[in-house]
Point group: C2
Chain length 341, copies 2
DNA sequence: GTTAGCACTCACTAACAACGAGTGCTAAAA
DNA sequence: TTTTAGCACTCGTTGTTAGTGAGTGCTAAC
């Protein structure tokens, strides 16, 4: 167990390093008002903290830098949430001023505000479309060979795919299929569609319009498979301000990562849990994120659906501030999205 | 007018600089097989070319670098198109192998291939949706207060917006509006919708369902205004490989630019014209593009619609190669998209 | 008109010293 | 026993200097 003094020293070092980005030395700490021991004492404590794995040195005679374990301890035990300022509240709430704004646009705007407020990169994972329920299904023929299939969900989300019609598909048959599908699928969540298509509905379609069930079901698989939760970014290039990202290769990996939706989604795994989650450096199990931390919070979008909101920043990001902001904002978003329904 | 020898010297310098990225000196040129004069002669020619504004020096005793004017002259008069290799043709054509691929996915894939082939960043501007014609219009109610409006175009593109219903809008009235709109709008290009909405249709709706025309027309404005041609990128981070982009600020400006669709579209202004267009550095009139060149070509997507395909690279990009590839690829795309209709 | 020769420029590199922020350790003070 | 002052040592950073080499412009000879 750490002594009180060790806790204090660790806290001061992490805080100091977060705000300065420079390794912090014993003299610097000793000069602080709330520290009453000499630099030599602190040097001893620092050596102990280093032995315990909480601190690191960049070279033999430099100041200390928190290790990942150090950050982890800091966020788990030493993090005192910051108070949010009125000004910050104002700029967050300004998003919701325009009542007519669509949900999607509002989420986009939230991402921007969040990245402006933090100077880091923000990510918002829209509510998982899989749980949305089918409101209407429709096929619109474009020509004698092509048509577009459309699914409208209860959330107002519209999915569509262009497909090539089988040669002998007549208008009447299309209508019949559409009717069957609407009868059977309206009210069901998107995720269940492929399942249902393979069972009862395949039979029904076979009975009424012939053996085209294969074709229809493959169409549906394509529709529901592709649609993952949408990802929105704010301040994608903010990380270029951080001195730790002057390395072009790191920047490149990170930027490339952001265009790969599935990989980004794995970063949110633990985001399902309640409250704010913090993942530090290698805890993300992703090479590109080795020097980054991600802080996530989930919000409620009604109907048992939830999205996630996150900040990606350097490991030495301002955890206090970001945690507070995310907590506040996810609460606001939840309230807004559940009331709207 | 430039002498033959000056032309040759300029050509060699530009070619050399493009491939090496280093300022090129008189001795280097003299050593080339196809150059038969001494370095001193070349020095004199270079001094003249510099006076004429085609070359620049980075400092008093360094080799020469092409100026923007030099590049311009090079692409206008000295550019001999390269032959395209079978291997390149093969990788381009591999995109079209999968007949079932949707147009959008194919365009996305084209952008990727193009950036891989060139190691620069590729941009594809999808066909302008404004010219697509309305195929079907529809309103799907979601709840007592909200509904989603859907427009399907003849190309299979689907536009949709969620909107809040006026309080006294009944299902019957909605159907009536939908009918009127379908009667009057099917077959008309999207771009004409706002115009028509203000004229005849406003009257019709007023006659049949009361004074809701304002509401409907504002809805339509929102639909057709927002939808610009879609922009697809390939190799967004490729530019980080170029030594001229080790400057974080340039990278940042460029990456930020890429997320601003309207600004990117201005880069394609001249792309309407036939054939391949080259814009060098400040010719783009855009700070972020000061050190970049963009080469564009347009392709035909049938029905008098066209898209653009472009490569963004450093000013010293391999113009020969890129011009050839773009020319070839735009032709291929045109053939493919016009046949498909 | 062309070219050899030469003095000059200037970025780049290596070597070196001086500096300073930091450490670990020891011994004295509390 | 704990804390602290003192000191030797480490190592990154900065500045200086000199040497190198790729390049130029100019002049005079070919």
């Amino acid at each position: 167990m750490l002594t009180n003094r060790q806790l204090q020293v660790l806290q001061v070092i992490v805080d100091d390093f977060i705000s300065s980005g420079q390794p912090v030395g014993s003299r610097q700490i000793a000069k602080k008002d709330n520290v009453s021991f000499s630099s030599a004492t602190i040097r001893n404590e620092m050596a102990d903290l280093e032995d315990l794995g909480f601190l690191e040195k960049t070279h033999t005679s430099s100041g200390r830098v928190p290790s990942e374990k150090g950050y982890r301890f800091y966020v788990d035990h030493l993090l005192k949430p910051q108070v949010i300022t009125n000004q910050e509240i104002a700029s967050i709430r300004s998003i919701y001023a325009d009542q007519l704004m669509e949900t999607e646009q509002m989420i986009r705007e939230s991402a921007n505000i969040l990245s402006d407020l933090t100077t880091y990169t923000s990510v918002i994972l829209g509510p998982d479309v899989h749980m949305h329920k089918v409101k209407r299904f429709q096929i619109v023929p474009l020509s004698s060979t092509q048509a577009v299939a459309i699914i409208v969900t209860d959330s107002g989300h519209v999915e569509n795919r262009v497909f090539t019609l089988p040669e002998d598909f007549s208008m009447r048959r299309i209508e019949k299929v559409v009717n069957i599908l609407n009868e059977r699928l309206v009210g069901k969540p998107l995720v269940e569609i492929p399942l249902r298509m393979d069972g009862e509905i395949a039979k029904l379609i076979k009975e009424h319009v012939g053996a085209y069930s294969d074709f229809v079901s493959s169409l549906f698989n394509r529709i529901s498979a592709q649609e993952e939760g949408r990802v929105y970014y704010g301040g994608k290039t903010n990380m270029l301000n951080q001195p730790e990202f002057h390395d072009i290769n790191k920047v490149r990996m990170l930027l490339d990562l952001m265009d790969k939706t599935p990989q980004v989604q794995t970063l949110f795994q633990a985001g399902n849990q309640q409250g704010v989650q913090i993942r530090i450096g290698s805890e993300n199990n992703l090479l590109a994120m080795e020097d980054c931390s991600i802080i996530t919070a989930s919000f409620d979008a009604g109907d048992n659906q939830h999205g996630s909101i996150a900040i990606i920043g350097p490991k030495r990001m301002d955890y206090k501030r970001v945690v507070t902001l995310l907590d506040f904002m996810s609460g606001d978003l939840s309230r807004l999205l559940t009331n709207n329904r």
